[in-house]
């Protein structure tokens, strides 16, 4: 999260709403450890990353749907090994669990 603080401060000063996705758990080979984070603004600006780049696009979509009220804050899962997983996969074959919420705490 540390590397996102500068962007988050700038966005908040500009009055932007922000969603934050954090890696909370990984199974198998995961590229980023729990705690890795990505922030997305309402206008679609992005900072940070939660994988080697494989799922970032899908995470932006999830983050925007949190900000527009379509989905509630929740854990989403990306990976090959989970039937419930999104169509987006990780090339390393692992599974990552992300918690996505609005930064309003």
């Amino acid at each position: 999260m540390k590397d996102l603080l500068g962007d988050i401060a700038r966005w908040r000063a500009a009055g932007e709403r922000i969603a934050v996705a954090r890696v909370v758990d990984i199974e198998g080979s995961g590229p980023r450890l729990p705690g890795a984070a990505m922030a997305v603004t309402e206008s679609g600006e992005v900072a940070g990353s939660v994988s080697g780049g494989c799922v970032e696009g899908a995470v932006v979509g999830e983050a925007l749907s949190i900000l527009d009220g379509t989905t509630e804050p929740r854990v989403v899962t990306f990976g090959y090994s989970d039937d419930e997983a999104f169509a987006v996969g990780l090339t390393c074959g692992g599974t990552i669990h992300l918690f996505i919420e609005e930064l309003a705490w």
């Binding site: 909370v24 758990d25 705690g35 929740r74 930064l103 705490w105």
Partner: protein
Amino acid sequence: MSDAPIFDRYAALIEAEEPVALATVIDGPHVGAKLLVTTDGADPIGSLGHPELDRVVGRDALAELEAARSGVRSYGPEGQTTPEDLVDQPTIRVFVESHAPPPQMWIFGAVDFTAALARVAKVLGYRVTVCDAREVFATKRRFPMADAVRVTWPTPMFDELGADLTPRDAVCILTHDPKFDVPAVQGALATRVGYIGVMGSRKTHAKRMERLADVGLTSEQLDRLLSPIGLDIGARTPEETAVSICAEIIARRTGKMVPSLKDSTGPIHS
């Protein structure tokens, strides 16, 4: 700017490199509820929805923070943790995110390898302190990448700050000078530090081990030393040697068995 009091405190502590753990309910009632835990003795900020849950998670978060671990933990709605108490209870999953201060690396000896090692250690996120008793060599100008440069002998340095060293930290002794190496090794062995590496050729190493035995250190104590320092990757330049040392630190931490110079024989530069 939107109101975010917990985030403001959390961001300020991270920027100041103060230890802080953030617990978030990710599954169960009150999804998104937060508890911010610090090590300064202050009460946690926020709540996960039940005072007993807050108390138990606060306690666990401090332990996770001490170990610099982040991960998901499961509880009952009132903070239950034992399997018997959790039977027939809904489970609340809490993500604990630890922000521990950076690990430390102390480098003894302001030699040509020191600058390269300090640079590589900075890449890995260490807080680097260079220590040498010779004030012409131990200068901030020669080691601008170090967080601190101290002109002192090892013994006062360990007496003053040795208790702060943890298993996440590293001590690298690069001096090759017995009158500096011996007290540096003695000082490091009296701490909880996770990695103690000592530089030198096989011959220097053998002589040093004799001197260390002479001052009363046992072979069990000396077994903690990684000496000669580094992995056996054929490093020659200061930069390559710095990579070999940092790679050994990572491998020891992760428990990987890769050849260390300590475990082989023959010339180091073959």
